[in-house]
Symmetry: D3
Subunit: 304 residues, 6 copies
C-alpha cells in the first residue's frame, strides 16, 4: 500500500478511486455529518489539538454517536497521516479531512451507528490556482444567500449540510468569476466565507465578526493571538457591509492559506485596492510564528 | 440481475450492498444534493409528474448542472422501477428515491459535473413500525431546532443538507421516544416535520401552514384537493403552537403514509385524544380517490 | 412661453434650465419630499384620479402641510399639462411629475410651509433606451440593499428619500450592466424594483408581492384588474427568490412602460428565457384596455 | 461679494437667496445625497479632519462619483469658510454644511456626474431658541418611527434621505411641543436622535448606544475621549428604553451644541429631573478641552 | 344575600368588599391566570358559548388544571348571573368576569390546584365616562410598548399577565389624556388595544388585523359576520400605521361597547375627523342584529 | 401577634391564612405588579440595598405610583423582618417578598393608587426538595416558550406578569420531571430561568448571558464580582444552546440557593456530567465571602 494516497473508511484503508461510501449512509441521504480539515506545515499537523477539540464539540452538538475516545483519534489520525505523507514531495504540504456521520440508515440495509472517514490531500492543486492572490488580493462579494441561523444549523458546528455554501459560491461568481462569497447572517451582519473568516483593518485596529454566528476558525484564532501578542488592537464585533466597504485593509484567514489579502469588496477597491501594510505585517508575524514561509511555499506551484 | 434490488448510480445498476459513491462527491463532502421520493400504489408511481416537476425546480434553485431532459428522466425512472418491482410481494408497495449532487469535487480526483442516484425500497419496514399509529395517532412535539430560513436553505427546495432534521428528531425523542418533531420557522410559526406536513381541524375547517416556509408535499396537495372537492373548507395560514394545542383534530401527511392522525401535541391530547371524524373522513376520501386502502395495506405487516 | 417645456415651482413657470429650488429647501437638505409621476396616452393623463389620491395619502402619512385642495390640484395639473403638451410630437407621450416638500427650512432664510413642483418630460428618451426589452426581456437581480421597513419609511408612501434605490441600482449593475434591481424586504421576501412592480406566472396563475411592503403601483393595479376581468387567477402573496427562479414567466409593470417581460433572474433564465405567452396575453389585454399600442409607440424611437 | 453670506454650488458662489439647484438634480428628485456639517469655535472649524474622513466614507458607501481629492476639499472648504466668516459677529459661531449628490439626472437635461454644495450658517438662531435647555434639560421621546436598518440606509452613512427624521420630529411633538425624538432601531434598541447622539449615566458609568446602528457623531467621539481621559468609565452598549427611564442622568451630544442635559424621558423625569453632576462635569471637561465656554457663548443670544 | 353584588371565589359567594384572594395565589404572585368577560343585553349573556369555548382554549394553552366540565361552568355561570341581576336597574346592563389561576402556591400555605373567581359589574360606570365617544369618536395612539409575541404569551390566550397593557395605557395618555393605545406587534403591524380590536374602512372595504397576533374578540367576530351578511367586503390582513393614518374611517370593537368610532389616529384626523357612514351603518346592523340599541342604552348615563 | 408568620398588606399585618387581597386589585385582574425577593444569611437580609434600588427602578419603569420613600421602605422592611424572624429556627433562613401593584381598579370598588404587600417565608421547604442538587446538579432544558421582548415586558423589570414562566416550567417537565427551564430570547440566545441566571465555564472562562434581555440577579452580580476579585476571567455575552451543550461546566445562581451546579443540558451531560471544579471553587468563594456555608445550611433539611 505504498504507492498512492489512501482513504480511511470505518477502519479500513482504500485507494482514492475506490474510496466509496454506501448511498444509504446518512451523510449521503441527508447530509447529516460533521467534519474537520487540518493542514500540515513541514509535514506536521498544525494545531491538531484545537481541531480535535472542535471535532468533539461538533459531535456532541450534532448528537452523533461517535464513540472513539480522543486519545485513539489522536493515534489513528497520526497513523493515517503517516501512511500518506510519502505521497507528498518535500516542498508540498497536505491536509487531513475528518468526517463523521450517523452511519447507514436502516431503509434497506442494516443500520450502523456512525461512519467515520479520513482523507488526505496535497495543498498543491489549490495553491496552483490561488497563490497569485497573495499578491493581488481577492475580490469578496456578499451574495443573496445568508448563513444559517444558530437555531437551525449552528455555524459553530463544523457541519456538512452546506448546500447554501455552494449556492453562495455560484452567486458570487455572477458578480465576478474570481470573486468569493462572504455570507451575511440573517440580521445583515458580516458572517463568514464558505470556509474562511474575514478581517478588516480600520484606523490601526483589527476587526473581525464576533464568534456568535460563525465557525470561528483556528487560523482566525491564530491571527487574533498574533495581533494581541504584538500589541495590535484586535476586536470581535458585529460588522456590516459599510465597514468592509470603507475599511483601510481587509483579508481572509483559512486553514489552507493562513492569511490572504482582500483588495475588492462588492466591486469597490478596499483602501487603495492593494494589500495593505497591516495585512503584510500579520503575514510576517504568521511566518515568524510558524517559522515557515507559507506564502513562498504556495507560490512555488503558481502556473505549474 | 434478477435476484435483488438494484441501485442506479450515474448510469449503472448495483446491488444494494455494493451501491457506493465516492467520498469525494459533493453530496458527501458538503451535503450538496437535492432529492425526491415517490411511492407506488398497486406497484405504480403516484403523481410522478408532480414529483418530477419539483425535482427540476430544486435542480434550478440549487444551481445544479443536472442535464438529463425530463422525458429521459421519465424513461429511466420507469425502467428503474420495473427492474426492481419483482422484489416486492404482491401486497407490498415501494418507493423510488432520486438524488442529484454536484458530483465529484476536484480535491484529489478529476471533478465531474453531477452525480445522479436512484434507489428503491419497500415500504414494508416502515409500515411494520408505524401502521399502528393509524389507530392511536402520533405524538407531535415542537423541538428547539428551527426550520431553515428561505434565504439560507429555502425549504421549497427538497434539499439533502438536513443535519437539523436529525437533531430535531433527537430533540423530540427527549420528550417521548415515540414523538416526531414539528419544526417551527424562525418567526415561531408551525412549519413542517422531518419529511411530512401538518394539518389541523378547527370548527369544521382544515388549516395547514402556508407554503412560504415549507416543502409543500404532494400528499399535502392531494389532501387539499380532496377537501376542496368534497366541500370541506381548507386554508393555508400562519399557525402557531396555540393553534395545534387547541385544535379539534390534527394529522400529518407524507408520501409513505398518505395521512395519519395526530392525537398528542407537546404532551397534551389533541381534542379528545383520539383520531377525529374529519381525519377519518379524509382518510376515506383518500382511499376512494386512490381506489386503494392504504391503511389496510400498511396494517398487514403490523407485528410481523 | 410657447417655445419649450416649463417647470412649475410654487405657482410660477420656468424654463427647464432655470427651474431651480433653494438649497435650503427640505427636499435638498433632508430629502424630505413626496411625489407622483403620471403618464399620458394619446396626450391624456392615465388614471390621474388614482395618482392624485395616492399623492394625498403620501402627504398625510408624511405629515406634510400641503394645503391645496384636490379640485385645485386637478385644475393646476391639467393646466400644467396643457402648457407643455405642445412640446410633444404627435407620436410621443409624456409624464408629469409632482413633488411636495416641507419647504425652505429656517436655517438662514425665512421658512416656508411647503414647496410644490411639477415637471414634464417626454417618454421618448427612456423608450429609445429600453423599448428593445419588450422583445428580449429584462434581467432582474436581487441586490444586497433591502427595501425600507414600514416603520422607517413606509414604502406605501411614494417618498423621495431614495438613496437606497440608487445604491441598489449600482449593485445590480455589478452582476450585469443591463440588470435592474428587485429589492427584497428585510424578511427576505421579494418587494419591488426602483420604480416598478414584479409579477410572476406559475402553473397558469399570476403572483405578485403583497401590498404590505411595497408601493403598489397603478400599473400593477391595472394588471391585476385586467387579469381578473379575463379570468386569469391572480394573487398577492409573500414570494421569495425561489419563486422567481422557478417561475414559468415573469414581468414588471411601471407607469412609463406598462408591462415588460423579464427573462433572466439572478443570472438564470426565467422559464425558457423568452417572454412567455401569459405575459404576451397581458400585454394584449393592456393594449385593448387602453385602445393604444404602448409597445409599438415605444418601439418607434428605438435606435434613434 | 463682501456684503453677505455666500453658498457654493458646483464651483460658484451665490448669495443665499439665489442659491438654487436644478429640480432635476438627484438630491431633489430622489433625495440621493450625502452630507457633513462642521461647526466653528473661535471661528475655526472643529475637528474638520474627522468630518472630512467621514464625508469620504459616505461618498464611497453611497457609491457617489465625487472626485475632488481630500487636499482640494480641505482647501475649498477653508476658502469657503473664510469668505463667509466676516458675516459673523465676533461673539457668534457658525457652521459649514457640505452636500454631494449624484448630479442632474438625465430625464430632460444633460446628466452631470455629481453636484457639490457648501453653505454657511451662524449658530445664533438655533442658540436663541435652545440655549435655555443647558439649564433645564431637554425632554426626549421615543417616537413610533424607527431608524433605518443598515441593509437599507446604513446610518453610518451621513445621508440626506431623511423623511423619517421629519416624521419622527412630528411624532415627538405630539407628546410635548418641546420634545425631541430618540429613534429606536428595528430591534428596539435606543439608536440616535435626528442629528444628535444619546448618553446616559448609571452608577457612575457613562453608557451610549453602540456604533452599529447609528451615525457615530464627532461630538459623541469627543465625549467618549474626554471621559476616558479623565477616568470616567464609558461603554458603548445596546440600550433599551428601560435604561433611559431608570438612568441617573442623561444628555445628548451634537455638533451645534456640544453636550446638553436631558431631564425628561418619555414623560418621566430622568433621575431627579435636573441636569446631573456627571453631565455638568463633562460639560466642564469639554470647555477645558476647547478652551472655550460653549455654553456661555450660546446663552448670550437667549431671548434676543 | 339579596342586598348587593356577590363575587364567587372557589365555590363561595362574597360581598364585593370582602371578596379577597390569598396573596399566595399564583394570580397574585406571578400573574398566572386566564380570564373571560361576557356582557348582557336585556340582562342575558351575549354569545356565552363563544366566550366559554375560548375560556377552555385558554385553560388548555396555559396548561391550567381547571377541571370543571363545560356543562357545569354553564350552570354556575348562569346561577351566578341570576344571583346578581337584581342589582341592575332595568335600563342597566352588566358583565360577568371569569378568572382561573393555578391556585395557591406552596410557598407557605398548602398548595391548591386552581382558583376560580367570577365577578359581576354594571356597565354603567364605564358608559358614564365613554358614551359620548359614540358621537365624537376616540383618539387612538400607537405606544412604544409592543404586544406580546406568540412564543412568549400568545395573545390568543386571554391571559392576565398584562403589565404591558397598563404601561401602554400610560404611554398613550402622554399624547392625549383621552387617547387609548393600539399596540403594534414586534414586526410593526397593528395588533390590538388593551381590551378591544381595531377596524378600518378604505375604499368601501372593511379591514382588520389578522388573528395571528391578537385576541380575536367576539365583538370583532360579530362585526365581521354582520359585514359579510350584508355584503360589505371584509378582510383580515397585516396592517401598518400608514393604513390607519390614511383610512377613510376607523372604529374599535369591544365587549362592553360593541362598536365605537375612531376619529383621530396618532394626532391626525381619520378621514374628515368624524364618525363615518360605514361605521354608522355597522352600528345599525349591530342594533338590528341585537334588536337592542346599545348606543342609546349607554348614552342614558352620560353626565350622570 | 407572636405566634406565627405575618403578611403585610397596605400597612396592616395579617396571619398568613387571612392574608388576602381584593380580587379587584390590578395584581389579580391584570397581573399588573412588580416585586422583589430578598433572603437572609444568619437572619440578616443579603444585599438589601441592591434589591431596594432595583425595586424602585421597576416601580419607575412600570409607571407605578408607589410613593413610599426609600428610607421608609428600609424601615418597614426591617420591622417586618423582625416581626417574623422569631418564626425561624436558629438553623433556618428566610426570605422577604415585596409586591407593589396599581391597586384596586375602579370597576366596582373605589380605586386606590397602589397596593403594597410584604410576605415572609422560610427557605426550609425549598431546601428540603432541592438541596441534593448541590451534589448531583440540575438538568436544564430550553422550552419552546421564549422570554419576553424588552419592548413588551422588559425582563429588567422584576414583573409579576409571568404566565409564560409557568408554561415554560410545564414544558421543561415534559422532558424530565426534575428539569428546569432556561428560556431563550426571541433571537435564540440563552436568556434566564424562571427565577435564576445561567452561567457556563469554557476553557477556564466564566460566561453568562448579557444583561440586555434578562433580569440580572443580585446573585449573578455577586458571582461576577467574586470571579473578578479572584482573577477568574468572566464575560457577559450572547450565548446559544451550542455553548451550553459544549461547555465544560455550568451552574445557576438564584437568591434562595446562591449557586448550584448544572450537570445536564437538553438531555446531554454537561462536561463529564458532574459538578465541575470551577463551580466548586465559586461555591467556596461564595461561602468565604458570606462567611456562611449556604450549602451545608440547606442540606440540613434534606429528606426531612
Amino acid at each position: 500500500m505504498k504507492s498512492g494516497r489512501r482513504v480511511y473508511i470505518n477502519g479500513e484503508l482504500f485507494p482514492e478511486a475506490e474510496a466509496k461510501i454506501s448511498v444509504f449512509d446518512s451523510c449521503v441521504l441527508i447530509g447529516d455529518a460533521i467534519q474537520e480539515v487540518t493542514r500540515t506545515f513541514r509535514h506536521k499537523l498544525f494545531r491538531w489539538d484545537d481541531h480535535r477539540d472542535r471535532f468533539y464539540r461538533s459531535v456532541k452538538a450534532a448528537r452523533l454517536a461517535f464513540e472513539m475516545p480522543p486519545e485513539e483519534l489522536d493515534r489513528v489520525t497520526q497513523e493515517f497521516l503517516e501512511c500518506n505523507l510519502h505521497t507528498l514531495a518535500e516542498n508540498e504540504e497536505g491536509g487531513v479531512g475528518h468526517l463523521a456521520s450517523r452511519g447507514v440508515m436502516g431503509l434497506v440495509l442494516p443500520p450502523t451507528r456512525t461512519s467515520f472517514v479520513m482523507y488526505f490531500f496535497p495543498l498543491t492543486n489549490g495553491q496552483r490556482k490561488t497563490a497569485h492572490y497573495y499578491n493581488v488580493g481577492r475580490h469578496v462579494v456578499t451574495p443573496p444567500t445568508r448563513h444559517s441561523h444558530p437555531l437551525t444549523l449552528d455555524p459553530k458546528i463544523k457541519y456538512r449540510s452546506r448546500l447554501h455554501f455552494s449556492i453562495a459560491d455560484a452567486e458570487a461568481r455572477l458578480v465576478d468569476p474570481e470573486a468569493i462569497p462572504l455570507m451575511l447572517d440573517l440580521d445583515g451582519n458580516l458572517a463568514e466565507g464558505t470556509g474562511w473568516n474575514f478581517f478588516l483593518v480600520r484606523n490601526g485596529e483589527l476587526l473581525t465578526p464576533s464568534g456568535r454566528n460563525i465557525l470561528a476558525g483556528i487560523s482566525r484564532k491564530t491571527t487574533l493571538e498574533l495581533a494581541r501578542k504584538h500589541g495590535l488592537p484586535a476586536f470581535e464585533r458585529d460588522l456590516q457591509p459599510y465597514d468592509a466597504l470603507t475599511a483601510d485593509e481587509a483579508f481572509i484567514t483559512a486553514t489552507s492559506l493562513c492569511l490572504m489579502p482582500v483588495t475588492r469588496f462588492n466591486g469597490e477597491p478596499v483602501g487603495n485596492g492593494k494589500p495593505g501594510p497591516v495585512t503584510r505585517q500579520l503575514m510576517s508575524w504568521w511566518k515568524e510564528y510558524l517559522n515557515f514561509d507559507f506564502e513562498a511555499q504556495a507560490k512555488q506551484f503558481l502556473g505549474m
